[in-house]
Symmetry: C3
Subunit: 267 residues, 3 copies
């Protein structure tokens, strides 16, 4: 009766991004199903606290996490995962990683380039329940992949997925106008302005970064580059411009909010 | 000094259901103790955010999670886990799974059938502290099980555990009257009415499902079967009737609350 | 393209203590980087819900967790982890465990004795980003350790770390005066008074433990030693005196708060 896995364990790395929260049984149900189908797999929570149904937050979070994982990792996107006639379940192969979810536009927010392969998933699911595809469809798909089987057995190859236009900064000769796309637990405001965009326009000119009420005229490399309690701008680990306060909460102290405009004016 | 486990690793799957929260050190202490005693074990959180001391929520959560796990999995119930003269620590074997907790009525809420075996745990605990049985009693019990030892060495076999009567729906010829037993993170209201109970009374008759203020007269198979923002009833992954709103919060928009009555009237 | 780890897996146990929260991608980024560098490692969250920048809470939490883990475990302290000229990154070896963090005083709060070894970390980090040392510095250090390499290759041995004076109780002939250093999810108030300090002064005398508004004159061994709803004092799993209510919230019902004075008067 014991769970003696004398066979060789599969060390597949599988991540889950969801809006289930950490209180309910949904996460455990999927993790249990994964361990039953893929004994030995490693399951990592990207986040289970995505705001309910929020594709932008879900894609922001997975987009910044997945590249840290080993090649061959399988990423389950459990936000808005129900299939419908317009939104098929798909497996996307991108950068030697596997992504499983519903084709509702979320994949267009995750990747910058064309994916290596897209498969429209067409398998018999594990139960007669249609409300829990992460457990009943995505787990068997992950098992299929981690067993090294041909992924084209999972369904038909398709050439594109649904697009969803991300918020992109407005870029002019002497101006970049972006928005705050995320506020993290520290109250840091992460914008949609990339370091590459900034460098291309800046050309070593002087500049001013403006929030609603405040401004800074340099970009630092680390939070501690300014005294405690002082405002700063930094290209953080996302590669995106962040407005922060060293050891403090930019959200509260500077009054920056989700979707606020952030302007960079160049001399 | 390195942790080189040259011996064969034990791939026991161990779950924990607790009301410790995810902020405090309690969860890490138990997970560390498990990894020390059972190197290689897989530890899955069913939930650490059960409302403090709430046996109903704890049993609802583990009840819906455990069957997804592989045979031989060990489930630690850390809610109300202190032993007393009336509430012994017990190991329950049910459906080829192991459950460890205090015999305070919680097991009566977890299972539908008689368990395969019940053992009253009688071992020397790991410390002189009596406030942390999950670490000091349940971890050594889990180690004993996962080493494949005879579980009857853990204590005396007993023939029953304490019962705790769950809320059951009232079922009449043309009526099922249940209650809301859980509200999940989406604001979905899960009732105590099972699909089997519904089918037995419905016999393909027309019906109306009534909350305090609203009603629907069909059961759908998936949230997306109704337009966004519309009320629906569905037998979800629990097998229980759920009142929900597609992409919305039934709790807020329909005003359904924990313990509200839900009526199904049949023609 | 699959993640087939045919090499021997490293079973290093690695814990993380952070203030990232469980919503953001930071935790997943570090866990992914760990699995990429150390395939097979076990990653345990001590907590990701430490109050932002709170060294006292971070040290309280890890201090009570780490000894439960197997020898050779690696503990990443991700709270206030940015390096600066005053706060170098260090690796501390203590009690056959490894601790990685910034030398900002936090290690002085973690240990009672002198550590076995302190290394000032001096390695090339994994990226050009300086805001995410847990991923870009601590992960490669953990990989170095778990590969069994000489830790002195990581940097120069130093003889001490920064001290940070913890709140210590005032101890007189007939009085111990401590403070509440933590309130847990149950509303239990954990003080800084140790069982050893208590025993040394008590010498079997009668005593009274006083909060702002209430008092008890005995110490019990378990919460259930008093009737439900009643106040109690217990030396809990931390070894520290706790003020609690059996099945209730001392914080709310007794009005005890973080940093409140707790007095024990002896006859």
């Amino acid at each position: 009766m014991l769970n003696k896995n004398t066979h060789i364990l599969n060390e597949a790395v599988i991540t889950i991004t969801s809006d289930w929260g950490n209180r309910d049984y949904y996460r455990a149900a999927v993790e249990g199903a994964l361990l039953k189908r893929i004994p030995g797999c490693r399951i990592i929570a990207v986040s289970h606290e995505i705001s309910c149904f929020d594709m932008l937050e879900a894609s922001y979070t997975l987009r910044n996490a997945w590249q840290n994982f080993p090649d061959g990792s399988i990423h389950i996107m459990a936000v808005r995962s129900e299939a419908s006639i317009e939104h098929q379940h798909v497996l996307v192969v991108y950068g030697n990683h596997y992504f499983i979810g519903a084709d509702n536009g979320i994949f267009g927010l995750l990747f910058d380039e064309k994916p290596e392969k897209i498969i429209a998933i067409d398998i018999h699911q594990d139960s007669s329940v249609f409300t829990f595809p992460s457990r009943d469809v995505f787990v068997p798909v992950a098992a299929h992949i981690s067993e090294g089987k041909n992924i084209e057995e999972l369904g038909q190859v398709q050439t594109s997925f649904k697009e969803h236009i991300p918020y992109k900064p407005v870029i002019e000769k002497d101006l970049i106008k972006g928005i705050v796309i995320h506020i993290d637990r520290y109250g840091n405001a992460i914008t949609n302005i990339t370091q590459a965009q900034f460098k291309k326009i800046a050309k070593n000119r002087r500049f001013e970064i403006q929030t609603n009420r405040n401004s800074v005229n340099r970009v630092v490399e680390a939070y501690d580059d300014v005294p405690e309690g002082e405002m700063l701008a930094v290209f953080g680990s996302t590669g995106l411009l962040e407005i922060a306060i060293n050891q403090g909460r930019a959200k509260d102290l500077l009054g920056v909010k989700f979707k606020d405009t952030i302007r960079i004016e160049f001399e």
